[in-house]
């Protein structure tokens, strides 16, 4: 019996070995991965941002002509659509958005030192107040060029009255939204006109290219590291140690009540990057034999998203209710597991995202 068991073990292990030899993992086609991610994920999402931002600019400019209280919801609605379009591509922190610091132009956050408020006051009441032309924005602080500044103008207490009564406020809101639309359109155009090789090409080194192109590495980082950013920066920083120590004002988009909706949008976008389109990471992992890892990642994405379903868009009511607070804690636990699962899958595609822990000194 004992010998039979041993024999069985030997056969089983040799079977594994044979399977390993006969089913060698195919070479990963990173170019195909890059092509799919750009044409089916990055470009459409920048297009969406450009369109929604244009709508926001037009809606704001139109509303500012009459400043009718009844129509103000249209402005807020356009703002929210545009903001969510940004949340859908916020994880891409490389490429054109990094040129000229446009990532900060679009969203200067977190603003721990209250810079946006001070800069807005200066813009509304300082020596240049009222003139919000291209020259103004060339010299303006990055903090007042994007969504957080608009969010203050549209959602701060008394925002509607201020916009109605202070011509500068409406003029500034129109100008910021027009600037934002222009930036978004430029980003979309640049992602369309720059070839993939240009996107990669900031290294001017003579050395042989690596197996993993920089663009693929950027895309993988966008996916993997964003989970940690969401969990830590957008959830745990707000949730605090317990419900009593939760801090709403640490949340992203708390003024517009969009905090949790933004997280849901982020996760939807990241899951699309993971498994949407043609050649994606999910497919590559499966081709490399990492089926269990791929299954786990997919399941954790779905779990996190379903845990957020039914939640309000706004963080505030969720923090006040013990059950929703606990549910958000559960989301953070799922995201932790997802972060681990994504990192653990990287070696199977020869992607190394860190090294101090492996070979320090």
């Amino acid at each position: 019996m004992h010998n039979l068991t041993r024999l069985g073990q030997l056969l089983a292990s040799s079977g594994v070995l044979l399977a390993g030899i006969t089913q060698a993992a195919p070479v990963i086609d990173w170019d195909a991965f890059n092509g799919s991610a750009i044409s089916q994920h990055v470009q459409p999402r920048y297009q969406q941002l450009a369109q929604q931002s244009q709508t926001l600019a037009e809606t704001t400019a139109h509303w500012c002509q009459a400043r009718n209280s009844d129509d103000f919801a249209d402005v807020q609605h356009a703002f929210e659509n545009s903001l969510q379009a940004w949340q859908g591509i916020q994880h891409v922190q490389f490429g054109p958005v990094q040129l000229l610091m446009r990532n900060y132009d679009i969203q200067f956050w977190p603003d721990r030192k209250g810079i946006i408020g001070r800069q807005l006051n200066d813009a509304l009441q300082g020596p240049t107040a009222g003139t919000y032309d291209a020259e103004f924005f060339r010299h303006a602080s990055v903090s007042i060029k994007g969504f957080p500044a608009l969010e203050r103008l549209f959602y701060d207490k008394g925002a509607l009255q201020t916009l109605q009564q202070q011509p500068n406020a409406c003029a500034l809101a129109s100008a910021i939204s027009a600037t934002l639309a222009k930036t978004a359109q430029a980003l979309y155009s640049e992602w369309q006109t720059q070839s993939i090789s240009t996107q990669e090409g900031t290294d001017d080194d003579e050395a042989a290219p690596s197996d993993l192109p920089d663009l693929s590495l950027d895309l993988l980082r966008s996916l993997v590291q964003s989970i940690d950013v969401i969990r830590d920066g957008k959830l745990l920083n707000v949730l605090g140690k317990d419900q009593a120590s939760a801090r709403l004002k640490r949340a992203e988009n708390w003024r517009s009540g969009q905090s949790l909706r933004s997280i849901a949008t982020n996760l939807e976008a990241l899951q699309e990057l993971y498994s949407g389109g043609g050649v994606n990471l999910d497919l590559i992992l499966r081709e490399q034999g990492a089926t269990a890892e791929a299954d786990e990642i997919g399941a954790l994405f779905s779990q996190a998203r379903s845990q957020l379903e039914g939640m309000p868009d706004d963080f505030a009511p969720a923090l006040q209710n013990a059950s929703t607070y606990a549910q958000l804690r559960a989301v953070s636990v799922t995201l932790k597991a997802l972060d681990e699962a994504l990192y653990n899958a990287m070696p199977s595609i020869n992607a190394q995202l860190g090294f101090n822990s492996r070979d320090g000194d």
Binding site: G95, P110, S210, L212, R221, L353, G354, F355
Partner: protein, 376 residues
């Protein structure tokens, strides 16, 4: 003694003593639109090419200097726009680079039968470059002193007081070098004396290498390698250690030292200590001198320690985080990671904030140490 004689060197050192210790000063407070400080680090790209990189407050790339091999620590010159990047041990170069002109000021090579051991610093007057080295073939620790005004010529060398010297500091008075003798004898990077290693913290007179004070850990802790450290304004040294014994052992990984007293090992709570995985990567003290940050990249943690209370304070998660610098704000640090991320850390609030970097920087694995440079 090479070049100038010991008497000349001692006289020159008096100039050093008169200069306040700039090295311990932290960077200016972060202002998003002020280009007030620079971050320098060794880094490695996906092609396994090695770089010295410098970025500014906004995450923009200011310098990218190709290195012949992986580097470890970067030391800033106190008044020239220079940094010295030290090869990883056993190291064959220290590159001194001008980050304004982007030019290589000097590639320093070790003397015969010497290798650099990862760390160096400039004296506060900028005249001397002081480095840890290893003497071959015996494997004895050495401290070398080179003259920046004379082409970084070697002017003095003495024993580090032990085996495997790694990070070094200057005393606030400027007359002593404080050396972390890791205790590990190596052949290449192979560790060969783990059973008999004797790490120590040594205070050595700069003008001759005389040991003025040297401390060893308790015998049962002899496998705790003393590797990285920082000094507070009151002279307390915070030490980050690496345990070379049985991975299942429970050993402290952080220690403090105050002049005239024995080394004081500090323990994190059990779960944190286990997560630190017997390995700390770097140590820095905040601008108030009250909080020490110690990175534990294998545990994806930056741990924080209350210096006055001799106690563990808290931790923040930073995946593969290793390099640490203090900002000018009390209780605030910057951390870099092997995953290409740079964070502002607010341990008192349990918060961290990602600093977005130029993609050429975020693609890199930032190496062991982070150097913050004030720009005036």
């Amino acid at each position: 003694m090479t070049g100038i004689d010991r008497r000349q060197f001692s006289l020159l050192l008096t100039g050093l003593l008169a200069t306040p210790n700039l090295l311990a000063q932290p960077v200016l407070q972060r202002a998003p639109e002020a280009q007030s400080w620079l971050l320098a680090s060794a880094a490695t790209d996906s092609r396994q090419q090695h770089w010295l990189v410098i970025s500014d407050t906004d995450g923009a790339l200011r310098l990218r200097h190709r290195l012949p091999a992986r580097a470890h620590h970067v030391a800033a010159h106190p008044h020239q726009p220079w940094v010295a990047v030290v090869a990883r041990r056993p190291g064959a170069y220290i590159d001194v680079v001008d980050y304004h002109s982007q030019a290589l000021v000097k590639r320093i090579e070790p003397a015969a039968n010497r290798v650099f051991f990862g760390h160096a610093l400039f004296s506060p007057d900028g005249r001397w470059l002081i480095a840890t080295e290893n003497a071959l073939p015996q494997g004895e620790g050495r401290i070398s002193i080179r003259d920046a005004l004379n082409g970084f010529k070697l002017v003095n060398e003495f024993s580090s007081g032990g085996v495997g010297p790694h990070e070094l500091l200057l005393s606030h008075a400027g007359d002593e070098v404080i050396v972390a003798n890791g205790g590990i004898r190596t052949e290449g990077r192979q560790k060969v004396n783990l059973d008999s290693m004797q790490p120590s913290l040594a205070y050595l007179k700069l003008d001759g290498g005389e040991i003025s004070e040297q401390w060893f850990l308790a015998p049962e802790q002899h496998q705790l390698s003393i590797r990285h450290m920082d000094i507070s304004p009151d002279g307390t040294v915070a030490i980050a250690m690496q345990y070379e014994g049985n991975p299942a052992d429970r050993q402290p990984l952080v220690a403090l030292h105050r002049r005239g007293q024995a080394l004081q090992a500090l323990s994190a709570p059990d779960a944190i200590n286990r997560q630190m995985s017997q390995y700390c990567g770097s140590a820095r003290i905040d601008s108030s001198g009250k909080i020490a940050a110690v990175s534990a990249p294998r545990g994806n943690l930056i741990t924080f320690w209350d210096i006055e209370q001799n106690a563990y304070l808290t931790r923040l998660e930073v995946r593969d985080g290793c390099g640490i610098a203090a900002t000018a704000t009390p209780g605030e640090f910057i951390a870099s990671s092997g995953t290409g991320q740079v964070y502002l850390l607010y341990p008192r609030d349990g918060l961290r904030e990602r600093l977005i970097q130029d993609m050429r920087l975020s693609r890199l694995s930032w190496d062991n140490h982070l150097c913050a440079i004030q720009v005036t």
